[in-house]
Subunit: 379 residues, 2 copies
């Protein structure tokens, strides 16, 4: 029987900077001809979802209200950020970039009808909901052997990993540096680079993270908290000849130190001196913001360097549908192996709005990935 | 009569960090088949030449020795920089990227012989010399009506200006922001943009600089020292729709503020809110280092942005010989108008190694360009 109403998480930024997260109950929409209604059974919390949920609110100042089954969380967003986010003020927003579940209603088109009863994954956004009406074009039917838990994270991390590898090749590099390399995404990238024989320098922040990656076959792992980080990074870059880096950290001096290490390697190879450094192009793509402080660039790596933002949807648009389809096929083939995600916890929509749960999942800790199962909110 | 010996400026970095600038007297080389010997009559001091001459020595600590006709200047280069410049240590270097003068000897090839007696400009480097043997391919014969003074600066600034304009178009932008915009180069860029009908936002640091550019027809001039700089910059970027900037400053927060202003303009036009900012790409090219302090990027301009080094020779290599030839023709046609340089002073090679003269020409002041005339050193 088709349910009439369902819960979803709503994030609302008010003009005075108050941010309110709550559960709202709404009618389940009727699908249009090319749409389906998905009963969401699994939706991961990725770092990018945290930004959508909490904007840039100080999570230490969260306040809890509401009831156990209908919790409300409020926070304060700094004024400067509210001004910059004018387009978001007073516009209630959902969250949850990706997820998976069963198609319980379908529009009239053949494509929509073909999905009825199937388990699909989707990247349509606003997946922190019991029911989500999405275009057929944004659904990927999962093989019958794949559960919603196993398919829920088949977009953001796997496609980012393959996008990183594609970008490395398209730009003509033969090896890459990756920061925050022990993350769920980093471990996946390590597996893909090993499969593809692509040189990878993993930059991590602890001995535990280094051990974890080495146990998974990583050859080059550099711990940025060690005094010997710089010479070790230079040695790893020299061994791989990495000239591109993908950086999930963003802030501080890490990006700068990576570019300087690359130039150091290239200048050792160069014959003679140039005021403007070597002519080998050194590229750094920032795709995350684990450190939201400013990026500090000392610019002591010649003139042939570039640093910029990197975003999966923008990459997919540039790469074109053939490349994207090829990437998606590879993800589906490796969903239980190369592209498998591991979760530490499965929580309900209501759980996701409890301050203690937020404190845990917002840490962005290595191996701390959380899955929301809106099926747990059924009364 | 062919002179036997000539003076040139030599910059020598020693392993202990001592930098020594002196005049050396050397035999005038015999030209190879495709070479000519130029009697240098004019060679400008561009900001890029200062780096080649003084590395990163602290100019406040210069020491004078030698004689009036053979002065020697010494300085200390910080240890960290010496280590980074291993390829330069103990290698005596000339300086002076460009210059002009009469061809007084030529190799056996027809192309070389054709230049005998002509006044040529060249971008061969090491032009702070009385005589310079250069390949014919690196010479441009000047029209008979052009003096060496008028032709000496026909490469670095004019080609950089045209390279900036070409880059703007190749990357698909329709207007640009330029910093340090009242410089000799900036005034030239302003003239070219007016000729080409290309939108230009000039960023300057004083009211005098603003007046100077407005008197030359500049429509958008923003003074970064004024409290109203940010809204004025946003208004100018909105009026022009500039999405690329060429930055001669490099350090500090200026690059960041320009990118933020661009994003602010684009987000006003965008419908709806995206966590990752607008999809309009915002580009900033750093082509100078008037401020050698670190570049500070707050990264509050979404994901579609990039910042990197920009260098004329690298651009010319990418653009290819046809584009470069077209640019050079345009420079020659406008040498006394659009691409004219003005100099405040003409000095000898020996003058260029006097501490008081260095203090003046190393200021990089607007309208403070100095020309070296090695003909003045003749005993």
């Amino acid at each position: 029987m088709m349910p009439e109403r369902g819960l979803r998480i709503r994030s609302l930024l008010k003009p005075d900077g108050q941010l309110e997260l709550s559960l709202v109950e709404e009618p389940v929409p009727q699908p249009g001809p090319d749409e389906v209604v998905v009963r969401v059974q699994a939706a991961p919390i990725n770092p990018s979802d945290l930004g959508q949920l909490f904007v840039a609110a100080d999570l230490a100042g969260l306040r809890q209200s509401g009831t156990a089954r209908r919790p409300v969380v409020t926070a304060t967003v700094p004024r400067a950020i509210v001004a910059a986010l004018a387009a978001r003020v007073n516009r209630p927003m959902g969250a949850g970039n990706e997820g998976a579940g069963e198609v319980i209603a379908a529009g009239s088109s053949d494509a929509a009808q073909a999905l009825l009863g199937r388990t699909v994954a989707t990247f349509a956004g606003e997946m922190y909901a019991q029911f989500r009406c999405v275009p057929v074009a944004q659904c990927v039917p999962l093989p019958a052997t794949i559960t919603p838990d196993q398919g829920a994270s088949c977009f953001v991390n796997p496609m980012t990993v393959l996008g990183i590898v594609e970008t490395t090749r398209i730009e003509g590099h033969t090896a890459l540096v990756h920061t925050a390399a022990a993350s769920n995404l980093g471990q996946m990238l390590n597996r893909v680079c090993i499969e593809d024989g692509l040189g990878l320098v993993n930059v991590v922040r602890s001995d535990d993270q280094e051990r974890l990656l080495r146990a998974q076959g990583a050859r080059f792992v550099c711990n940025s908290t060690r005094p010997s980080f710089e010479p070790e990074l230079i040695a790893a870059i020299e061994a791989t000849n990495a000239t591109v880096a993908f950086d999930a950290v963003g802030g501080g001096t890490l990006a700068d130190r990576i570019l300087a290490a690359m130039e150091s390697v290239q200048s050792r190879k160069a014959t003679g001196y140039s005021l403007y450094g070597t002519s080998t192009h050194k590229q750094l793509h920032i795709y995350g913001a684990l450190d939201t402080s400013p990026t500090i660039l000392r610019r002591n790596y010649g003139a042939a360097w570039s640093i910029g933002g990197w975003l999966l949807p923008q990459f997919m648009q540039k790469a074109g549908p053939d490349t994207v389809a090829r990437m998606q096929r590879r993800v589906m083939e490796g969903l239980l192996t190369t592209f498998a995600s591991r979760y530490t916890k499965e929580i309900s929509l209501a759980d996701a709005l409890r301050i203690d749960a937020i404190a845990a999942y917002a840490q962005r800790a290595t191996n701390g990935k959380v899955l929301i199962n809106p099926g747990m909110d059924i009364d």
